[in-house]
């Protein structure tokens, strides 16, 4: 167990390091952020002074070294646009994304897995076919368009729910979250549904595939022969056996949604991190781009670690060994 953690942490450090090099070189190749930001009226002298002030005249290696040594001192940099430390900036917006993603993942799981189980349990029923058809829609129709439809329907035409924004923010266990207020829930529900559709489709298909396969296996036949009720077979035996691919995909999806829920956040004007990173890229806000992407890598490493731990819990055959 201990060697497993040590190997994982070593791997994580290598990945983060490699990522920082890739991002840094990539961002450097785009060009000088001052040329994107500067006001047209600025003189050459002002421009030159700024370039020096931000160390942009230094060679790439030198800039990268400065960045690394700052990181070593716990300083991930300051946004060139907002003049706020990148860590503060990201974490001022992260709770919003987190709550949105959690609600959407809950919706996707609570609807997707039961629907998938049913579709695999009775693959030829009308209900199963309907579920499969809807799941195709879920991940083939663009989120942007569904988002606009939801807004048009529920906010503009019916006037039931707000068209965007985060609503009143309350406090839950000391964390600022809109899930603590009714107004907050009314704001979160539409974007969460929008964000969950793709994942829901994925969950349904994965669960169904596993279910269909499992229904024909020997252990299910034996269980049936033993006279166990179907309910017990499905929830206690099959679900557990088909969980591994579901958990894997769940983990990956959770990570990518947390990091890049951009489309939904833009359509619903949700003040999350996805929008922040896109704006930073458009404005070439270098410190935010570099540090954020590195934080995302760390997030993925953490999620994968948790996924591995869950594997071991689900399937006793999986051993957590070094190099796993």
């Amino acid at each position: 167990m201990l060697s497993f953690f040590i190997t994982r942490i070593a791997q994580a450090i290598v990945v983060v390091f490699a990522m920082s090099v890739i991002v840094f070189v990539g961002v450097y190749a785009i060009g000088n952020p001052i040329d994107v930001m500067i006001d047209p009226g600025a003189t050459q002298e002002i421009r030159q002074k700024l370039i020096e002030q931000y160390g942009l005249d230094q060679p790439l290696i030198q800039q990268y070294w400065t960045f690394l040594s700052n990181v070593a001192h716990g300083d991930l940099g300051t946004s060139m646009v907002y003049n706020i430390s990148v860590v503060d900036l990201v974490f001022s917006r992260f709770p919003a994304t987190l709550e949105l993603v959690l609600v959407s993942v809950c919706i996707a799981t609570c609807v997707g897995i039961p629907a998938g189980l049913w579709a695999g349990y009775r693959p030829n029923s009308i209900g199963a076919k309907l579920i499969m058809a809807l799941s195709v829609l879920g991940f083939s129709v663009p989120t942007f368009w569904i988002g606009m439809l939801l807004i048009m329907g529920f906010a503009v035409e019916l006037g039931l729910l707000p068209s965007g924004g985060r609503g009143d923010v309350g406090s839950l266990l000391g964390l600022p979250t809109s899930l603590a207020t009714l107004d907050g829930w009314s704001h979160v529900i539409l974007p969460a549904i929008n964000l969950s559709l793709f994942k829901m489709g994925l969950m349904i298909r994965l669960t169904r595939a596993g279910m269909v396969e499992a229904m024909g296996t020997d252990y299910v036949k034996f269980a049936r022969a033993q006279g166990l009720p179907d309910r017990q077979i499905v929830f206690q035996h099959i679900l557990r056996n088909i969980s591994i691919p579901i958990v894997t995909v769940f983990g990956l999806e959770l990570g990518s949604t947390l990091a890049f829920a951009v489309v939904t956040e833009s359509v619903f004007n949700w003040p999350g991190v996805g929008k922040l990173i896109i704006d930073s890229i458009l404005q070439l806000d270098r410190p935010v781009m570099v540090s954020y992407l590195i934080m995302v890598v760390i997030l993925f490493v953490l999620i994968n670690l948790v996924v591995d731990l869950v594997y071991a819990r689900l399937d006793p055959r999986v051993r957590l060994k070094g190099g796993a």
């Binding site: 047209p40 003189t43 003049n83 900036l89 458009l282």
Partner: protein, 523 residues
């Protein structure tokens, strides 16, 4: 300057008279962009300046057509070649009750170089040599050389109390602790990319405004902003997309407001001896740079059908342009006629220049800088193909376009330029003057255009303090650059605001600012 003062006093009185009749009401505005910081000396970005005008005042203000009017400075005069005298408005107090004096103005000018960021406000203080407080209400600014445009530079010079302290940090402004100005609203709260919440300043020197509480909400996505208005979540939105404009105009539930903007889409043909991307005929590079020939540039100009660009490509939201600034700006030339569209004449000119069968040329534009830039780009390529040219049009994201344009890697480009100061020195000095780092001219002259005659006339204007004489010289300079096709202007973009019908009255501004305090409820 007396007349100006009187005018503003009358305006202030009119506002005060109007205020009591307007019932206390709240206004929620959906905006495409908001501030990046509450420190008014951090950045020159338009959305930042627009937002902070609500909390802070500038020394000099601008009207809807960007012409100067008094702000915290009641009047200003040049007392010799290198000294401007500013008379401060008396009886103005900051939100915390301390009176405003010339000392605060001096402090603000001196604070800018200490704290400004990568979009530097030093731009507005670059001519300032030293600042001297003569008495509480008189300020003398000594300039580096003659600086006739200093009052224009000061239209974005926000004043903070001298007690703020040079070292005041960005976080202290964002939290509201230091967000103390003299403006029409007091600061309540703000989050980056979130809502800017404001409360009316009842003691405002210009008269209290109509709205008691104002929320300026940032909704960058066009479709979402429109949905927010339609669902009643906000009362007013800016930058209505062209695709929604017609539907809104015909919708009885929505009022629209329209104005020309300062932004004009200009084509910049490189006239360097060797063009950056080769111009070819049948794949073979052409000898010399065809764009150096005025006849070729004129042919390109004549082949543009500006009316089609406006009516079809921009769906009506534009005006044909014949120079780099809209009408009414300081230095706008009345001598220049409307640009004609004549494809036959264009073909003849091209043949005369030695290219009867045209050539192949790269054409690069921005695609997200202003509404319509990428579609106009494509339309221009098609118009030139009728002239017999093969145009490889490419519309790029600004993040890629601007650094490469600064490295002068493109043969012909199109991008938007806004005359944000309302006068010619800003635009022609940066775009068409010969590149001259020492004088600070030609910083954005990426085409290599250089005309000694233009430089002479423009340079003379920059050294003339008398506004009338300077205006004449700038008009002449505009004329020379435009006749030379140094840059080819195409269309002036228009901006649209939309509001709930019957809710409010507003005058649409050429600088695209949404000044909440200038909006009045419909009676």
């Amino acid at each position: 300057m007396k007349r100006l003062t009187l005018k503003s006093a009358v305006a202030a009185l009119a506002l005060m008279a109007a205020a009591p009749t307007a019932m206390a009401a709240d206004l929620v505005v959906g905006l495409r962009a908001g501030p990046d910081s509450i420190d008014p000396h951090w950045s020159t970005v338009g959305s930042q300046v627009e937002a902070l005008r609500h909390v802070f005042d500038t020394l000099i203000d601008v009207d809807e057509k960007l012409q100067l009017k008094p702000g915290l400075a009641a009047s200003w005069t040049a007392i010799d070649d290198t000294t401007w005298e500013f008379k401060m408005r008396e009886g103005v107090t900051f939100h915390d009750g301390t009176p405003f004096t010339a000392e605060d103005a001096k402090f603000s000018i001196e604070r800018i170089p200490e704290v400004t960021g990568p979009m530097p406000m030093t731009l507005y203080t670059k001519y300032v040599d030293s600042v001297e407080v003569v008495d509480d209400y008189t300020l003398h600014v000594k300039t580096k050389g003659m600086a006739p445009s200093l009052p224009n530079d000061f239209t974005r010079l926000f004043v903070v109390p001298s007690e703020t302290g040079m070292e005041a940090r960005n976080e202290e402004f964002n939290s509201g602790e230091k967000a103390i100005g003299t403006g029409p609203y007091t600061f309540v709260s703000w989050q980056p990319k979130g809502d800017l919440v404001l409360k009316r300043n009842d003691d405002y020197w210009g008269g209290a405004t109509a709205w008691e509480n104002v929320i300026r909400r940032e909704i960058p996505e066009d479709a979402s902003r429109v949905a927010a208005l339609r669902s009643g979540e906000v009362d007013l939105i800016n930058y209505v997309p062209a695709s929604d404009y017609l539907a809104m105009k015909n919708d009885g539930g929505i009022d629209t407001f329209l104005s020309d903007s300062v932004y004009i889409l200009n084509i910049a043909p490189s006239v360097k001896d060797e063009e950056p991307q080769p111009i070819t005929i049948n794949g073979e590079p052409v000898d010399g740079n065809p764009l150096q020939d005025l006849r070729v540039r004129k042919a390109l100009d004549l082949a543009i059908n500006r009316q089609v660009l406006v009516d079809v490509v921009l769906e009506g939201l534009g005006t044909p342009a014949n120079q780099l600034m809209p009408e009414g700006f300081f230095g706008y030339s009345d001598e220049l006629g409307e640009r004609e569209y004549d494809i036959e004449k264009a073909k003849a000119l091209l043949a005369e220049a030695g290219y009867p069968n045209g050539f192949e040329i790269d054409f690069t534009c921005t695609n997200n800088r202003v509404p319509g830039d990428s579609v106009v780009c494509e339309a221009l390529a098609q118009m030139w193909s009728r002239l017999g040219l093969t145009v490889n049009a490419q519309a790029l994201n600004g993040t890629v376009f601007f650094p490469a344009a600064a490295r002068e890697e493109y043969t012909m480009t199109m991008s938007a330029w806004g005359t944000l100061t309302g006068e010619a020195a800003y635009t022609y000095g940066a775009l068409t003057h010969t590149k001259d780092a020492e004088k600070g001219f030609g910083n954005f002259n990426r085409s290599g255009y250089s005309n000694p005659e233009f430089d002479r006339v423009f340079g003379e204007g920059a050294q003339t303090l008398d506004p009338e004489a300077r205006k004449k010289l700038y008009e002449q300079a505009s004329f020379i650059a435009m006749e030379d096709r140094a840059l080819i202007p195409t269309v002036i973009l228009q901006t649209v605001w939309a509001a709930d019908a019957g809710k409010l009255d507003m005058t649409a501004r050429v600088d695209q600012e949404t000044r909440t305090y200038a909006i009045t409820p419909t009676q």
